[in-house]
Symmetry: D2
Subunit: 388 residues, 4 copies
């Protein structure tokens, strides 16, 4: 992967992601890794003091440090050297208004997931993006991993046969105890607070990753869901565990398990997809490996950078097989995709179709449709419920 020549580097702004915000760091490293973006402006916190201090720490020019996202959108849209694109890394409830403000200012947006707190709001954002001709990227980070893309390429090439089963899970042990009431974790606090996180926790935060991963790889759309949501930690207002059964439009069946209370797990995101011929298995904690087991053959361990991989996997790879890439590199792949999409649009050329694998508003909206269907199913006692 070549670095950008400097004049092709995109000027990047950021909303949210000030001091101590985990996800802001990740976005910045991802943007920086391939040298395709330069961070030049930010409204890094809703707390003006933190916003100013964080901006200074990151070396932003004083006139590019903002204390409100609307002011930032306006000011940057009118500067000759204004930002090309903004990363939105605020708590969930602010995603929609922030995205809206920048899209309406004609600025491309890369938004952390979930895109909004309702399917309707997400759909509206997608329409705004279309209306203003802007990119609306949504960072379902995990589909940036090269071997996830390989898995999709294998499915598309028919290597697994017709897809029948899709098993996805995202198990965290992080909140097996009431961390949010012990202080010290901003993350835990806002994510378990319905005011700031929305109506769902495990499904919205983790289940949507599984859902996107499943549809991304299996190439079928989930049509219906039956849900069992549960809150294990008493006093918590949102579900911290979800068991979900799904039916896909191509005839596949599947499950999703999303848990915040899987004590002893770190980032237990795992995907298995079974077709008539065989299956693939992938685990995020060892992302460079993809197990491919075809019935009647010895199972194979494909590795990033290794022989026989798809163009999709190769384009998402920086270094030879055996030298591991990780989370930041996967994240950077999305940023690279978005940069290429913007460049192609500006050059009035057709982007490499593989760039379109990067998740955008459509996938973001679909995630919210899924969340709403899961909540509805659960309220109806686990009834099979259509995903809008």
């Amino acid at each position: 992967m070549a670095e950008a020549e400097p004049d092709r580097r995109l000027r990047l702004g950021m909303v949210g992601g000030g001091r101590g915000a985990f996800i802001g760091d990740a976005h910045r490293i991802a943007a920086r890794l391939d040298n395709r973006y330069t961070l030049v402006a930010g409204a890094l916190s809703s707390d003006p003091q933190v916003a100013l201090a964080s901006g200074a720490e990151l070396g932003l020019a004083p006139d590019r440090i903002y204390t409100g996202f609307r002011a930032m959108a306006q000011a940057e849209a009118t500067r000759a050297d204004g930002i090309d694109v903004v990363s939105v890394v605020t708590p969930n409830h602010l995603h929609q208004p922030v995205c809206q403000a920048f899209l309406e200012a004609g600025i491309d947006v890369i938004c952390d997931k979930p895109l909004a707190t309702s399917h309707e709001a997400a759909r509206a954002l997608v329409e705004t993006a279309e209306e203003f001709g802007c990119l609306l990227g949504v960072t379902y980070t995990y589909t940036g991993y090269p071997m996830v893309r390989e898995a999709r390429a294998l499915v598309e090439a028919g290597e697994l046969g017709e897809i029948r089963l899709v098993q996805a899970e995202f198990a965290l042990g992080w909140l097996a105890t009431p961390v949010e009431r012990e202080g010290g974790s901003k993350q835990a606090e806002w994510r378990t607070d319905p005011e700031r996180a929305g109506l769902s926790f495990a499904v919205a935060d983790l289940g949507t990753h599984c859902f996107h991963l499943a549809e991304f790889v299996a190439r079928q759309r989930a049509e219906r869901v039956a849900a069992d949501l549960h809150t294990f930690v008493s006093g918590r207002l949102l579900e911290d565990n979800a068991h979900l059964m799904l039916a896909y439009d191509g005839g596949a069946r599947g499950t999703i398990w999303a848990s915040m209370v899987a004590a002893g797990e770190n980032v237990g995101l795992r995907l298995r997809v079974y077709g008539t011929r065989g299956h693939i298995a992938w685990a995020q904690e060892r992302p460079d490996e993809l197990r491919l087991a075809i019935g009647g053959e010895a199972a194979r361990v494909l590795v990033r950078g290794g022989p026989g991989l798809s163009e999709a996997a190769r384009q998402a790879t920086r270094i030879v097989a055996g030298l591991p890439e990780g989370y930041y590199e996967a994240f950077a792949n999305l940023y690279r995709d978005y940069a290429d999409l913007i460049a192609a649009r500006r050059a009035l050329t057709t982007p490499d179709p593989l760039r379109l694998w990067a998740p955008t508003g459509a996938e973001g909206a679909r995630g919210l449709a899924f969340v709403e269907a899961a909540l509805a199913s659960h309220r109806a006692g686990g009834e099979w419920t259509v995903i809008a």
Copy 2:
């Protein structure tokens, strides 16, 4: 584990398990491994020719080779040197009548699972066994593995805290294609035939193992189930895949995935149990290892024969850590348990309580209650259904 002195060896009979019957071999090796049984009689096939030839091959005396199980039960019950115990390894639909015949003849029974084709029939067998004072073992083989017993011991000792989540799966790739119509697999034929297998395939054959394993380790009873059963291979009359959500009486939630069409899998039986403190993970294909991950500590890999294991695991172990034991040894642990239970009863002593971990009629009947509830739930569109 000491071998039996010869006069303590039990005289064993077998019904089913003639030439080419996979499970008969496994029972015989299991019985022989610790030298606690001697096979002396058999009605090894419903085909008289096969029964005679199989008996001769196994070196049974001509007068101990039977062509019908009823004749065998009667004859053996009246001989001075008649069998002490019979192994029942016929196709599923015969388990109940065969068990009944031997129990009524006062002969101890070790029956392959499922115990019967209905919960009611299974309950009746349990009552018969009680009435005649006989053992009615049911070989849910997998709970014979030492590290499964260790998992249970850890749960009982409170190492995981209060149990919240139980994830079990049994994924086979064996029948991803219509093997049963291609000839050559007796197994595939009778197991997919409702006449001989009963009303369920994936749930009855595989799901019941998961169910037993889950209850055995997690020490909670499953109260309710919501099921999605599916037949992927067209023309097949029974479900070949099942997704199940469960609610346990101690507050835990769980899932079971049972599949005959998981192409590329061998014997993918896996169990994970999560409590408030941490979890255990076990996979049958590497049975000597048990992962124990407590939140806030490094995960540990416990190994059979290794330090710090429970009495339960130690008693199920023959050889030092690092020299692997496998399926036959697990199976032999059940046979050892049954032999000890019979010996204790005869000696009018109380058996080691750990011997009671071996599954018997009660667990067999519970498996059928589970199957029936799963079928009922599925028919009702996935409704949560009480397990009797």
Copy 3:
């Protein structure tokens, strides 16, 4: 694998292996597993009390319980129902005289390794066996594993290309501390005692397994060795760690690491063989898996019972892929091989050539040549030394 019909079962005797002797148990289970042998006689300990008690426990008839191996050899050789074959499982220094006595009595012998305490003595035994037309099996147990045999078959089929590198290691943590002086381990005592164990510990006990495994799989003979032997535990009289470099007659190079002081290891026996095209990797603690990595292709995980395996692996397999076999089954494969070799000799037929893969006196003698060369190299400051 079919069981033997009863009249084809071999009458087995045993020397050594009384109460508390680890390896006696393993031999007995291995002999029993496939029902090809019946244990009928034994001189189970050099301590007469233990010999008598152990024999009774194992159910031997009183007149088949001996207190001396010479008396046993004589008596059994003259009985009409005398033993067909004897298992020799004494401490090392007695292997040679015991084998000698039984061979001279015309009785087939299965001897635990090492075959003797010197290459010369081992060669003499081989000659005696030839002279008397007897089998002299030597139980390098680990080449009984099906996937080790698969590895050899792959090498023979040229799958790896020309073999260049052979890396073998056998790392135990057992004696990282002076266990032999703490009491309680008979094994530790005699194995570290030059009087009973011979002139070498790590090389003789562990290194010879590596050496046999290497030659068995790589199909080249080791010609020269350069050795660094070391005793880490003070007061121990024999080396407890060995690093060895080897040169093979087909141009390969290799290393062997044999250690009794690898604290934290269980039975860390591992083999890797690299050819011009690719390599195989096998670890005894997960014996059913064999990694096959061909350059320019994705690595494959072959499993016992799985598709595409050699006849050699298939013949060493009892049960389907995914139901694990372990150490006893590997051991039983050697016993099965020996039984078939004896049966073929008696029937004046040619045995299946795969039966000849079972190690016999020639391999036993070679192991001692290797031990002697390693000791000589070490004494000469690590000089490259020819293996006789």
Copy 4:
């Protein structure tokens, strides 16, 4: 890990690393990842055309693109905004003169390993660095991995007891065939060419990484080596495989295996260190995991970011346990260390002692002493040879 404020960012130059040079990319990404460096100048190739084009691609100002390293050193040393530090990523034979030129110009140096082509030359560089008060970093990349640092911290804390055994290996399959004669790999060409690579290939390129890793973690100095070097690919002038036995000053023994012809391997760098209490095992391809097995306890799997890790590991970590970091992040840790060392020197403060874990000239020189001793040993038929 905080990013640098912009005015603390170091101005970086680079010698070598033009188009198509693998290692230049890695250095640049490593330098950029934590935002502590800005690349502003370069002499990126010995071919002036390539140097100019590469500089332009990287966005260097025209007056900071050089076609010769001496001109660059001189010019940059005199500019007010001249580079603070230079990365040296040329072929091996140029490391020494390039480093010399920049050190004499008073510019800090970060040099890819090996530092020079002889121990003497390397020692001279170390002296030059001292004389001019400059940093001379040497990027033995792999000790930048957090879990390697954890391994060292465990050794220092005495967790393993007294260290006895150090087993290191670096197995690549890359050059199992004569790639260097097939064209297309600049790397393969110069690395196998004694003129440009020096007198050793496998030992110098791979063995030195093992050697540094071994000494870094085990905290003992290797005193003597016995070597068996071999060239498997005919026509190749330097050894492509090395087996080495080592003796350490603290009483440990060890081996190193370095191979370019281990067909089927990717980047098989593995380290195991055994002490009296237990051992650690680490494999570069899964760098976030460290196995810790203490005798008499269950083995533990430590993970980067996980609980109970040392300060050293924590400081080398950016993101939570379970989100993988990889090779670039390890590399970036060295760059971060060097930046901190430079900052401390400029601030006249004492750096965090953990920063001194980053390898510098002393370790670079030691690597060359090791190479020379290995070559001497081999020439003397494997004689134990003192490492200077």
